[in-house]
Amino acid sequence: MIVTKDLTHKWFTLFAEKVIQEKEQLSEYDRIIGDGDHGMNMARGAQQLITLWQAVPPVHLSDVFKQAAMKWISGVGGASGPLYGTAFLEMAKAVGAKEELSNDELVTAVKAGFEGIKKRGKSDIGQKTMLDLWAPAVQDLEKDELTMATLQTALTKTNELKATKGRASFLGDRSINEVDPGAASSKLFFEALIEAGEFGGN
């Protein structure tokens, strides 16, 4: 797949729309193993990004990532702010001045985002966080594909984990068999990429 600025713009716009649409559901997940604000937090960033782009659409490919990063870092208010914010910022850095990404370059960028979350969160896969959605998504992308089935399986597996990072970690075993809100919003992020992109080696 060739990733252009338009495709990326569409990807992040779809992500923002999905977040706003699923706001209640995301907060509901967070109500169970967190403080109930994940949907509200994410929707705040999403709405600000949409508003910005309605006024001034992104010009360069890296603007998409950079502007999303800024909205998440400034506007969100919960852990997901610095986490997604850092991910998007690292993606912007990986993209640099490029105006088009090959599939390999997309993988590099998404991996940079993944590493950004790890660094910011001092976390890793297996801890019932958004990382547990990002890791299998990266694996798929390496094969120039990304399927809903992969995302759904990843979320189901994440449910079974015990949280050891973030607020949910205070709950210990009680976090098992609950949906991690950040994993659920990351699923939306990659769903948006599926919808915006054209996978299958073309």
Binding site: G36, F170, G172, R174
Partner: protein, 116 residues
């Protein structure tokens, strides 16, 4: 929760209401005039206003603990005073009680927060 400041306990209460809206949480902060300090009477009130009979109690500094202990001795309720880090201990306990965790689980988590 017993603190030297009315603002500290109000803030912690706001924070944990988000994670534990179904746990009975009461608090006393500051002197009767609202200054920095603790007051035996408001601690007693916080104990009696709580809807539970068995309470976990948390405090910020040693003198708050003394008022807490005096009030606990005079109360009919079963009160466990925890020498754990204040905000972190309260947060952890509230979150676990909201999930109906066993007392033993809560206590073993709190043991890792002992700093006093």
């Amino acid at each position: 929760m017993v603190s030297h400041s009315k603002d500290i306990v109000k803030g912690i209460n706001d924070l944990i209401q988000q994670v534990a809206p179904n746990v009975s949480i009461t608090y006393a902060g500051g002197t009767v005039n609202g200054d920095i300090g603790t007051s035996f009477e408001t601690v007693q009130q916080a104990i009696e206003e709580n809807t539970c009979h068995q309470l976990f109690a948390f405090y910020d500094l040693g003198s708050a603990k003394m008022n807490l202990e005096m009030a606990a001795e005079l109360s009919e309720k079963e009160i466990e005073i925890l020498d754990v880090s204040f905000i972190e201990g309260v947060y952890c306990t509230a979150a676990l009680f909201e999930m109906n965790a066993d007392l033993t689980v809560v206590i073993s988590e709190l043991e890792q927060l002992m700093v006093k």
